[in-house]
């Protein structure tokens, strides 16, 4: 059986970290004045209560293009160091890079064959959330689409 001497610094660090976080919570709970009102606890302090989430700024398709871009981004990263030493590596290096480029290209072929670059009208899978018929503070402050939102409003 050995000793745990070497782990003592790590252990101390964990204890210190937990103690710091815990003490901060306890300290703020003890020291802070607590006079809650309904207005303070609302997520928005002023303005009208939002009826539904703002639509996201970019269509999902942009993410897809970003992902495709990253494939080639990475390919170029590996070509740079190879280009520096390709005279020393001779044929071996050339074959390696060709295999690598072919493997990267296969992912592109896969994307094309699955229609990742077919631009066209976007099919909307989920309908846009609309406001409830009965609007109370309790129902509209909650996020729409979250389970139980309308149930708790009653």
């Amino acid at each position: 059986m050995g000793s745990l001497d070497s782990y003592i610094p790590i252990f101390l660090l964990i204890v210190l970290g937990i103690a710091f976080a815990g003490l901060s919570f306890v300290g703020s709970r003890l020291l802070a004045p607590q006079r809650p009102t309904a207005a303070k606890e609302a997520p928005y302090e002023c303005g009208i209560v939002p009826t539904h989430e703002p639509s996201s700024r970019f269509p999902v398709r942009f993410y897809l293009v970003a992902m495709i871009f990253i494939i080639f981004d990475i390919e170029v990263i590996f070509l740079f160091p190879w280009a520096v030493v390709f005279r020393q590596l001779h044929t071996f290096g050339l074959v390696e890079v060709l295999v690598f480029a072919a493997a990267v290209f296969v992912s592109f072929v896969y994307l094309i064959s699955n229609g990742a670059l077919d631009w066209g009208p976007i099919k909307r899978i989920r309908p846009v959330a609309t406001a409830d018929e009965v609007r109370t503070t309790a129902s509209t402050v909650r996020r729409h689409g979250s389970p139980g939102a309308s149930g708790e409003a009653a």
Binding site: E53, S56, V60, Y63, L64, A66, M67, I70, I71, D73, I74, I77, F78, P81, I125, R126, A129, R143, H144, G145, S146
Partner: protein, 101 residues
Amino acid sequence: MTIHASWYLTLGAVLFTIGAVGLLVRRNVLVMFMCIELMLNAANLTFVTFARELNDTGGQVAVFFVLVVAAAEVVVGLGVIVAIFRRRVGATADDVHMLKG
């Protein structure tokens, strides 16, 4: 004037901690991704510092590894997010609550 390596290492540790704390406390999945990137780049900085200190290019090669890692992880992460986005309104980690027990 040269800057001592320990400053770089400290900066790396600070970036790593910011990323780790962000990953644990933020609820927006996209911000969580950014925190992952921050931690990966902290590791990059450490590798480069060691490469300079030890006069060894191995550390710089490791940076290439990490860049690929970052790309691969972010692509998969974005894929998962897109799959979730298509089904629900927002993308916060609190919305992910169907599996429990």
